[in-house]
């Protein structure tokens, strides 16, 4: 259960009562230059950052119990800068999608809750009449449940724990010889 702060809960109560309350998705992508987009018509300030108004399409977020859904994100792909996003090494970048409740009187964000989190996966773009840059993103639960292969090699150990020599062995030369007792030993 994601709880809202008092101001956010008041806005949600008004929405349920019939008021039309702004509820704007906020998208964060942790690229080298962090991208913060407000998926609406105006820039919003939340969490100490200004979230730039941007035409971004995020496909429906529909989680299932055993199958957390991925996310498909489409940005306009009409400028070189936007297309370059699809050609850079963005895989693995953290992605967070929030929903921000905005006070309709002041335009200030009252509260925002995390709706989805994961990592960027495959980028791509398409040109043409509808030019878009597309990303898919994988839900963090899927990443958490992935098999983690470990070969217990010294290289892996050095990557995980630099300086640890516990796996720095060569079985062919470092292992001690195993001497089995002769038959007389068992006849004692």
């Amino acid at each position: 259960m994601k709880s809202l702060n008092t101001a956010g809960q008041l806005l949600l109560d008004r929405a349920v009562a019939g008021d039309k309350i702004p509820l704007v998705p906020l998208l964060y992508i942790a690229l080298a230059v962090p991208q913060r987009y407000a998926l609406g018509g105006v820039p919003l300030v939340w969490g100490g950052f200004t979230w730039a108004a941007r035409d971004v399409i995020v496909n429906e977020v529909a989680d299932a119990v055993d199958q957390p859904a991925g996310l498909r994100i489409s940005l306009p792909g009409v400028t070189d800068a936007e297309r370059a996003l699809a050609l850079t090494d963005v895989e693995g970048a953290r992605v967070e999608l929030y929903h921000a409740l905005v006070d309709p009187a002041t335009g200030a964000v009252a509260d925002a809750v995390l709706r989805w989190a994961g990592e960027l996966d495959m980028p791509g773009f398409q040109a043409g009449r509808e030019a878009v840059v597309q990303f898919t993103a994988t839900h963090r639960a899927v990443i958490a449940m992935r098999d983690r292969v470990s070969r217990y090699t010294n290289d892996e150990q050095q990557r995980l724990y630099p300086g640890d020599t516990s796996l720095d062995v060569d079985p062919g030369t470092d292992a001690g010889s195993v001497v089995w007792p002769n038959a007389a030993y068992f006849r004692q």
């Binding site: 349920v16 019939g18 702004p22 509820l23 609406g40 018509g41 105006v42 309709p104 335009g107």
Partner: protein, 377 residues
């Protein structure tokens, strides 16, 4: 890409304007109740379809050249709301944004709002925050000999033009030629020229003279030329509106208006009440009313059009006005930003990939509908 002005040639006149709003929202309608729950994403934009009437070949060429160029270059067009070029409300003058407002907010506060070209903020004498008997923004002035000078505000109404209060001055003059009164500095955005001052008065006690004088000043505050007298007259009948013209000399950018009770008799109580000061460029001494904006009026701030919401707005006597916006503010507003009320323009983009420019035999181009959508700067 450039932003072009909507042409003013005959080919683009006589347009029919169909106004709309493009609302972005998502929501849900209950199956069992029919109730709608809707969430906005704060991207509401004005739309309009400008329909030009049929025209002859020469004008048709102008239309084709402009519109097809617009489509090809992807230019924006700067267009006023041709069906409501100035507010239905009385707001005129040079208002500004009083306090910054965030994008997406539903209201904004303006400052310096007066009605009908009246430059005299505080001319209704309604507000007296420090309760000293002198309306906000005014300063006491006096000269000569007198006793018992008191300032106050009365509600009995013989001079009342607007609101609840009249400004009151009571005094006993002890020497002829003395005077007491109030003064205030006003900015004159249009500078030199003829201005008319109007004031409604009532009086009591000893008969004196009521006069309004003006000191024209340059931008540095120095008096330009000599003090001008708008009117100077013995106490008239209660409720009389006094008017007079002054000609501000060159280099005048502001002036001090002085409302004075001048002694022609001494020894008795003298009382002056007044309300509804107007200072208007040109020849108009009538009280123009307080500044208002009506529902549906358009104002321009930072190149964006803002439509006034259904409640409309009325300024305070100090010229502050909280304006409800019909749609969320498209951009953040900074305090001090200028507000345009006279034919404010918005920036629009073509909202279609196709334009039907149909020319018929006989050299007549059929009427033409041009769909446009508001662009936010």
């Amino acid at each position: 890409m450039a932003t072009l002005d909507w042409p003013t040639t005959r080919a683009f006149q006589g347009a029919r304007v169909q106004l709309g709003v493009d609302v972005t929202e998502y929501g849900f309608q209950g199956f069992y109740t029919g109730n709608r729950t809707r969430f906005s994403t704060l991207a509401d934009r004005l739309t309009c379809v400008v329909t030009l009437p049929p025209c002859l070949a020469a004008d048709a060429g102008l239309r084709e050249g402009f519109l097809l160029g617009l489509r090809s270059a992807g230019d924006y067009v700067r267009l006023p709301m041709m069906h409501r070029r100035v507010p239905v409300g009385s707001m005129r003058g040079s208002p500004t944004v009083s306090a910054s407002a965030a994008a997406g907010a539903r209201s904004l506060v303006l400052a310096g709002v007066t009605g009908g070209g009246n430059l005299a903020l505080g001319g209704s004498f309604e507000l007296d925050t420090n309760a000293d008997g002198i309306a906000n923004g005014w300063t006491a002035l006096s000269s000569g000999s007198f006793t018992g000078l008191t300032y106050g505000r009365t509600t009995s109404g013989g001079a009342l033009v607007h609101g609840t209060y009249e400004q009151a001055i009571d005094v006993v003059f002890t020497a002829a030629g003395s005077f007491v009164g109030l003064e205030r500095v006003y900015q004159l955005p249009d500078g030199a020229g003829t201005y008319t001052i109007g004031l409604t008065v009532r009086s009591g006690g000893d008969t004196q003279t009521v006069r309004v004088r003006v000191e024209p000043r340059d931008s540095g505050g120095t008096i330009v030329g000599s003090t001008l007298t708008a009117f100077s007259t013995p106490f008239p009948a209660d409720g009389t509106r006094l008017t007079g013209q002054v000609v501000m000399p060159a280099t005048t950018t502001q002036c001090t208006v002085r409302i004075e009770m001048f002694s022609t008799n001494t020894g008795l109580n003298s009382a002056l009440r007044f309300d509804g000061l107007s200072l208007i460029r040109g020849i108009s001494g009538a009280w123009p009313g307080i500044g208002t904006l009506a529902a549906g009026d358009f104002i321009g701030i930072g190149g964006n059009l803002i439509m006034v919401g259904g409640a409309g707005a009325t300024a305070t006597d100090d010229g502050l006005m909280t304006v409800p916006a019909a749609m969320p503010l498209p951009a953040a507003l900074s305090a001090g930003a200028a507000v345009t009320w006279n034919q404010p323009t918005g920036v629009w983009e073509l909202d279609t990939d196709a334009l039907d420019l149909v020319n018929t035999p006989g050299g007549v181009q059929e009427g033409l509908a041009i769909p446009l959508r508001q662009v936010v700067l």
